[in-house]
Amino acid sequence: MIDWANFTPWASLAGGLLIGLATSIFVLLNGKIAGVSGILGSLIRPVKKDILWRLAFLSGLVLAPLAYGLFAVLPAARIEANSQLLIVAGLLVGLGTRYASGCTSGHGICGLARLSPRSLVAVIAFMSTGFVVVYIMRHLIN
């Protein structure tokens, strides 16, 4: 059953096109993949010549809500997880994305757009555990 009350087809499609514009700028001008986990995680043991552009990309990402806020009110975000859950989730996401060399941006968007079989496998894998964990949390525990 579709959640018609929360489904936002046009806004999501428009946001997606904008994300596509960002990845396009990055590959055509800078020659790089816009994979967020790699850009952030590679700063932990940094290669000197790559530090500045990584920080610049991340600054843009972090400042995005402020830029958006200049023109419109930020959409509400509802977070169901408590602090303990956020910490466990963060650790898993950090560890898993680096071990898999990519996350929803690097594999899910850039990888699939490059028709990479590796990325297709990654997307199927992370969506599978995502589905299972949400099923357990929403339908078995609650």
């Binding site: 904008l18 959409p75 990654a122």
Partner: protein
């Protein structure tokens, strides 16, 4: 100049995430809840982003070098290995627990909410654990 375009990429990427609704964890959970009332919004984000990117990568593969750089740095690995699968399974579990993945979490830490900050600190710790494992245990 390439530093500025990196900044611009991050900014547009983040605004795209906000407009698409992906910075709202309950929308991510709504997508992952296929057994409940399902919110397919994330699929449309992917369709939009992948369609545009597809043409950009096709164009990029025909270029000798990027417009502002010396070389195209596209991933060369084609191997489906344990790292890829196990890492993605771990990532998906964390994604389902909180409804955050790296991009939307980073694009939420300047909103004033404390939850994304907690998540991002833990995520960086998780990334640091990965680096330590690789460095000291030759983790492959």
């Amino acid at each position: 100049m390439h530093i500025f375009t990196a900044f611009l990429t991050g900014l547009i990427f983040g605004v795209g995430l906000i407009i698409s609704g992906m910075t709202n964890p309950s929308k991510i959970i709504g997508f992952l809840d296929i057994a409940g009332v399902w919110d397919p919004s994330l699929l449309l984000v992917m369709v939009g982003a992948i369609t545009v990117s597809y043409f950009a990568y096709r164009k990029a593969s025909a270029l000798a070098r990027p417009l502002l750089g010396d070389e195209m740095q596209l991933p060369k690995s084609r191997e489906v290995n344990r790292r890829l699968v196990v890492g993605s399974l771990i990532f998906g579990a964390g994604w389902g627990l909180a409804g955050y993945c790296p991009g939307p979490a980073l694009a939420s830490i300047a909103t004033g909410a404390h939850e994304p900050i907690i998540f991002v600190i833990a995520m960086i710790a998780g990334m640091a654990i990965y680096e330590l494992m690789e460095l000291f245990f030759n983790w492959k």
